[in-house]
Amino acid sequence: MDDLTTTRDALKSELGAPEAGAGLGSRDLDALFARVAADTVDRAPNVRDKVRELRSRSRVALAATGALVVGVVMLLLTGLHAELGGSQVVVRYAVAMTGIAAVVALMVALSLRGLHRRPLGPWVWVVVGAALLLPVVLAVTPWVWDTGHPAPYVGVGVPCLALGLVTGGLTGAVVWLFQRGAPRAPWRLLTAAAAGGLTAFAMLQLHCPARDATHLLVGHASVGLLLAAVVGLVVWLRARRG
């Protein structure tokens, strides 16, 4: 027996065995089980129940695929921009898109992390913050997106922002669909917002040829931050209401 267990036993013998507490009487236990069973084993699972009861690996794979599908469908609906030519440009874009996809997958994995896993440390906030700010950093590094063609004037970027919010919102909704229902942890929602922001940014970079910093910051890079602000507002309102 180690010293700390000896300490525990000494404390218990000094103070008397800890009280077991009022506990749940058999009627309380029956009533509580009835409530639990109604939400679990006695309930015919609907589509959302089925997807969130999948193994975590499957949920993450499906949600990440869902984010990809949202981005691709939005791109098919709106079209690729015409300046995507030349092997150097394609390689640079491919590297950037692969990096963004990896961060989206990480955000999805964090968002869908099961409660049966070890708790995450405070570093998760740093990772989520970095993912939310990544589009902003990418927007102010124009050489990544340089196509070698003169960029057209496309305004401040409000139509792009609207398109991005639709894409990001849909991506966030896909991730949320696969969550097992732990809305009380804001970082789970913020990671979904970050995944949405990154998917929207990637889609807009492929759709819109603009390289003006203001346009990129307002129209392309702010989607994740706006979604995060919405999450913050929702969390605050729910906390106020209790």
């Binding site: 525990r8 000094e14 008397g16 749940l24 069973a37 679990t40």
Partner: protein, 181 residues
């Protein structure tokens, strides 16, 4: 007839969807978890709600359970995560409140606990959250340090340091001298 182990019940529940196995696991652990939550939070209703949340997640996560592994640490990990998320939510809700239930400080029901239990509960309030969590699991639940390390997501040595400091503080607050001193 020998009693079925938790692992047997879990196998029946995960593989065959046995409602009876789920109910048996619930009846084995619900009261213990309720007691754990009561010690952390002190509200019967909130503790019941957290037990319900714990088993809801236990059910939804069953496909992630590796058959053959021990059930208890798995269930306690879910319970502690449910509690953590609850406390974060509550503290965000009323950050200026002095209500111990809101802040997750340990409380004891004066009608049902002994004087020494209440004393220990008050003394536990003097510990840091990390120390308190480890002491709760070691003192009340009698879990081993490797189990606790797994549950709280810390190294074995970090958990032992927290326990050592926590017990030292407890002894100091309670005025209990170490054996042989």
């Amino acid at each position: 007839m020998s009693e079925r182990t938790d692992e047997d019940l879990m196998a029946a529940y995960v593989s065959e969807g046995s409602r009876a196995a789920f109910e048996e696991l619930f009846r084995r652990y619900a009261d213990r978890l309720h007691g754990l939550f009561m010690r952390f939070i002190g509200s019967h209703d909130v503790a019941s709600d957290l037990v319900q949340q714990t088993f809801l997640h236990f059910h939804r996560a069953r496909a992630d359970f590796a058959l053959g592994r021990p059930v208890r640490p798995w269930l306690y990990t879910i319970a502690l995560n449910v509690r953590r998320e609850h406390l974060r939510w509550r503290s965000r809700k009323k950050e200026t409140s002095l209500d111990p239930v809101v802040h997750g400080e340990p409380t004891a029901d004066p009608k049902t606990s002994t004087a020494s239990d209440r004393l220990v509960q008050r003394a536990l309030g003097e510990l840091t959250e990390q120390q308190r969590e480890v002491i709760f699991l070691h003192y009340y639940e009698e879990l081993s340090f490797p189990e606790i390390a797994e549950l709280v997501g810390a190294s074995l040595s970090a958990v032992k340091v927290r326990a050592h400091r926590g017990y030292e503080k407890l002894r100091e607050v309670l005025g209990v001298t170490p054996e042989g001193a």
